[in-house]
Symmetry: C2
């Protein structure tokens, strides 16, 4: 279409001509509203001779009215967020920890939802609908000839006959309702990218095996257990006559998939604030980040499960394996896309001197990261998943090539986007509880779901931890397992997956249940994190990003040498073969190729690759290898850690002395850094050292911090 088409909008009820389904994007309503206003204005200017001025004036006013309503509904959300921010500040200021910002956003959303639902008059829409009987099939475009003028209509969708009269509904409720795909394509990507980009790499990679097990096996186990339990619940509901429509086994499995995506954002925020154990943090964070990706792909694989034949919900081995194939294909494809874009960005930032111009560098970084999403979508993979792996790659390689200013710029840019998107989603959740008009509250299903997610989480954490502990040198203690069990909050991802499709009765019931599960877990578990940490004797006050004061540290070593501490300590330095293999490959080949750090490729690659190696190795590595080693703390610390990892039997056997030596040498290497970048370097998980597993034990957290 041409840019001017907007101006060709007919003098008819242009404002109502917009499919409300599209009035969704935070900025879009304005865009459309303005377009129509301009169009109305234009048509009143150019086509004045053709039609009566009065009718146009009415159209124009209506368009303006609609535009204003759009602006007002968006303003509602912005004021909600503003209010949330101010209250968060108040809470942080007063060190209130029982309610996280996301919980707060939900409460405000809830209040506004109640006001909108019961406070605004249910204006019946002023759409004039018109039936026009066709014989054959629906077309995408209709041309309607109205007294000589042609109007173009586009298909909005099918309406079930019962719904024809309920199309008209409360205007305001309609305005504040966003398209579910907004969540997937606009709000989730920055959240997920930020999760990947701010991953504390070292802890993540050290626990990679366990994290992958929890995320993949765990989510699958959880999905199947929840799905089967819910199928039982549904059967029961059918018997007692509580179910009024179809609810298939695949629906139950779908519910299992969407509700298996944990999102312990509240727990992790408190962990961060209290500086709880870094390995527990890595396990929880890594699991939740990856299981989001698993849940997305799993749910779309379940949707894609379509057995041949008429009885479409029976088991079919071919369809099942096709679904498994889809799962593997989408996941690996998205992973590859994300990693490839990250690697390309790293190469571009390495081989150009873009770091002299932080603005250009930041813009490039942003564009490349966004293109991952588009590329994955263009290839039929999942953009959100690709963005996650892109974030991890960018943090691991590209970040090292960026200038100091760009490092903070990119971090801060995505931090703000993430913050806004997350709080928007949570306040929208609160709002949706009242403004969503097709809730199906089924007490049996809801209670069943709560039991099922509890059992699903238990069946995933405890057996998996048992098996993992068989292989892990540093076991995952009982208190960690309980904490992981407890931290099974559901959040933005479960909501986004549930709201994505609320067409059928079963999906509506799932959506309502998901919403309630999110509310319950965020409020109750979020509030209970601090007492739980204390009750489970999980150490806090361990800051992985800062050197703990030595005297306090040694004191804690003595104090923390009890059975709890020893148990918790087992998660440290899980030097599995996977990690070692990956580490040496990454350190010897990937880092030198993609960044300015690492040993020169000419020394690590075999002799016959020397030409290639010389091209790929950045001159900096030769020129000032020593300064680089000092600057790139990640590299140094990884080096230091490797020594520790290989020799960790002594370190762990003789915990305090071994780690003391390590921390001394690390401090020495770090003393060369003194700028503000240091803080940022550490924030990205570079500045971690073995002593970090020690700290104060939290006994009376609330009194302690009041």
């Amino acid at each position: 279409m041409e840019p001017g088409d907007a101006a060709r909008l007919g003098p008819g009820r242009a404002a109502r001509a917009l499919p409300p389904r599209l009035l969704l994007l935070p900025l879009l309503p304005l865009l459309l509203g303005r377009g129509l206003r301009a169009a109305a204005a234009a048509s009143s200017g150019a086509a004045a001779e053709d039609s009566s001025a009065m009718e146009e004036l009415a159209t124009e006013k209506e368009a303006e009215e609609s535009h204003r309503q759009d602006s007002v509904s968006l303003l509602t959300f912005i004021l909600l967020l503003t209010l949330t921010i101010l209250t968060i500040w108040l809470f942080k200021h007063r060190r209130v920890r029982f309610l996280h910002e996301t919980g707060l956003a939900m409460i405000y959303g809830l209040i506004v939802g109640v006001i909108l639902r019961y406070g605004t008059p249910a204006t019946s829409g002023h759409d004039k609908s018109l039936s026009c009987t066709q014989e054959d099939r629906a077309f995408s475009t209709l041309l309607v000839n109205v007294s000589g003028k042609f109007f173009e209509y586009t298909l909005k969708g099918e309406i079930s006959p019962g719904k024809i009269n309920s199309v008209e509904q409360n205007d305001m409720l309609r305005k504040v309702t966003f398209d579910p795909e907004v969540f997937f394509n606009i709000l989730l990507p920055p959240i997920i990218f930020h999760a990947g980009y701010s991953l504390k790499k070292r802890h993540f990679f050290r626990n990679l095996g366990s994290i992958l097990a929890y995320a993949f096996l765990g989510t699958a186990v959880s999905c199947f257990i929840i799905g089967n339990l819910m199928y039982g619940v549904v059967k029961l509901m059918k018997i007692v006559g509580q179910l009024s429509d179809k609810f298939y086994y695949t629906d139950c499995l779908f519910f299992g998939a969407i509700i298996s995506a944990t999102d312990p954002v509240t727990v992790l925020a408190i962990f961060n604030e209290l500086h709880a154990d870094v390995d527990l943090y890595a396990l929880l964070f890594g699991e939740s980040v990856l299981n989001d990706a698993v849940a997305i792909v799993l749910s779309s694989s379940i949707v894609a499960y379509q057995p041949a034949g008429l009885n479409t919900h029976a088991f079919d081995a071919a369809a099942f394996f096709k679904s498994v194939g889809i799962f593997l294909g989408i996941f690996s494809g998205s992973f590859t896309m994300g990693a490839v874009t990250g690697v390309v960005t790293a190469l571009v930032t390495k081989f150009t001197k873009l770091h002299c111009f932080p603005l250009l560098e930041t813009a490039l970084f942003f564009l490349m990261s966004w293109s991952t999403f588009l590329l994955a979508e263009a290839c039929g993979f999942t953009g959100v998943v690709a963005v996650l792996f892109c974030g991890i790659t960018q943090a691991h390689y590209t970040y090292n090539n960026l200038s100091v200013e760009s490092r903070s710029r990119t971090k801060q840019l995505f931090e703000v986007l993430h913050f806004l998107a997350e709080n928007f989603i949570f306040s929208y959740m609160g709002l949706a509880l009242f403004t969503f008009q097709k809730h199906v509250f089924s007490p049996v299903f809801i209670i069943g779901a709560f039991v099922a997610i509890f059992l699903g989480r238990a069946a995933h954490i405890y057996p998996l931890s048992f098996f993992l502990n068989l292989g892990r040198r540093h076991k995952i203690g009982w208190n960690f397992q309980h904490m992981m069990m407890f931290s099974g909050l559901r959040g933005a991802m479960a909501f986004a997956l549930a709201i994505r499709d609320t067409a059928s009765y079963a999906r509506q019931m799932m959506f309502t249940t998901t919403l309630l599960i999110v509310f319950f877990t965020v409020w109750i578990i979020g509030g209970g994190t601090t007492p739980m940490l204390s009750w489970l004797n999980i150490r806090v006050g361990v800051d992985p990003d800062q050197d703990p004061p030595p005297n306090n540290d040694s004191f804690q070593v003595l104090q923390g040498d009890g059975p709890d501490s020893a148990r918790g300590n087992r998660t440290k330095q899980e030097s599995a073969w996977l990690f070692r293999l990956w580490y040496s490959f990454d350190h010897n080949y990937l880092k030198p190729i993609l960044t300015h750090s690492g040993p020169p490729l000419t020394t690590t690659l075999p002799a016959w690759c020397s030409l290639l190696a010389r091209c790929l190795t950045s001159p900096q590595v030769y020129d000032n290898q020593e300064p680089l080693r000092e600057e790139d703390s990640d590299f140094i610390l990884t080096e230091g850690d490797l020594t520790l990892t290989y020799g960790d039997s002594t370190v762990t056997a003789n915990g305090s002395s071994g780690s003391h030596t390590a921390s001394t040498s690390l401090e020495g290497s770090r003393r060369t850094k003194s700028s503000s970048e240091e803080v940022l370097d550490r924030a990205l998980g570079a500045g971690d050292q073995p002593v970090s597993s020690r700290g104060t034990r939290l006994v009376f957290p609330l009194e302690d911090n009041a």
Copy 2:
């Protein structure tokens, strides 16, 4: 509508059901595509019994195909921007100044446009259209009954009968064409806000009178002169038979309004790089920022000019005064909105301790600034104009209350947004020259327009400068006037105004002409800036943000004491009554109320206001008035400057010695600052001092900097 409605999309050709007019926003295509894909998937799951699986499979595939195309077209733009960034870096790296990044973005856009236009096959759309004759009028919604199923259609717009067959067109060209309102509601706001937020306040306020005169009177004069000249051209075209459709006087005036918005982004970029005279910079930048706002409001006032009666294009005094009223109303309303939101943000950031949490602060700042736009739109004013004044207010007050980290965060956030939006617009312009399908190239009109904008700019700069010089103590020299005349580039704003409505023949001709004017001015004038600066003997190397080295400075004072330098110097310290009045009010009342700086209100307000004064004055002002004075460089420098301003007869009479004293005292006050914030403080125009009008004269700029 409900979140799940997307899933109710019929099994018909859902993908094509989307009005392409709405497939516009950078993110939206995905959103819709995904929505449809999910919908298709959902419908294939839930409604499988109702319709044949084959048809659904086809729909699903089509939806996916459309989604992929959307992603690919967006990827095209992102790759374009990436390419532009890399080339900009290369140019900056090699100090190429004859082509600015915006010119570059246009060239790349042009190339891609040519490829898309001639390289892709003109696939005729696969829409199936259907005529359905109605008798009465167009409705917004149609319900169509297709063999028992109801489908909802929404009005897309009117189609002129001749265009019915041309609705189908090249798919790819259609995909890369954005809704004109995207420019107004998504791309312009960050650009304009950034302009306001990065305004060098002190120079701006010092030249406020002249800037306002150029922006308001100048734009009006330019608009009328261009409009009248073009009316002559149009008359001429009618006589020689070059005009095939209507072209009214109001159309000519409208053209005058849109083309009067100057955008010397290229010139200012070079000024910034070469550190050209700060007052000339302030005049040009201030004029261009404000005349954007004037041009928007002026053009919408002209559109609103609708005389009563049938002959709608004759002069009508009532309609004229109504237009003037609309102009004043919209302008002052938007101004008030922007200023009020800025003030509210300042108060919120002052009276909360939000500055302990930079993330919250930045998010709040972003949300409040965005809400200005929405508020203005909701009230029927112009969001873009409101955003400009909000930016200025935020820079003047809120910025002082922000934490150091938030200062850099907000600056950088909007800098990135501005950069991306601006380059996107310029590359889109290049693209539009080939992908826009309704160009009306009229050589006579185009040549006429070039002559008219030249004369319009001349009739605006020279007479106004003459009158301003009567009142200014420090005259605007001839070389400055010539430079201002030369810098009349047209850019993003003219394009956005022109593309907003391309429905009629006249508007299409204007759009084509505007596009060519933008191309020509950006390339030619952008490239000619450096030679022109040299030719006009305008001093460069004057960095308002850094203390010039004293020896170099004193050398230049001696060297620069020629007639040119004296003439240029006259623009300095235009201490008009307007400025003094504003300054003292701002300094005594507004700054103390809205920020932590300034004299305590208890001392400036009359005694009977003491209670109010005590409430409003922040405790910091009492507690640590001295440290604050030192920290808030803006305040200090303003203080210092005021002394100079009042005593400027001696300073200017005895230039070198007076300014030397001033610079010494200023340096003394500045020596207390040593962190990185200093750079930022200065960048916002705080760190300016009288010596800055001296510097090196540019003689051979290209050789000098090669």
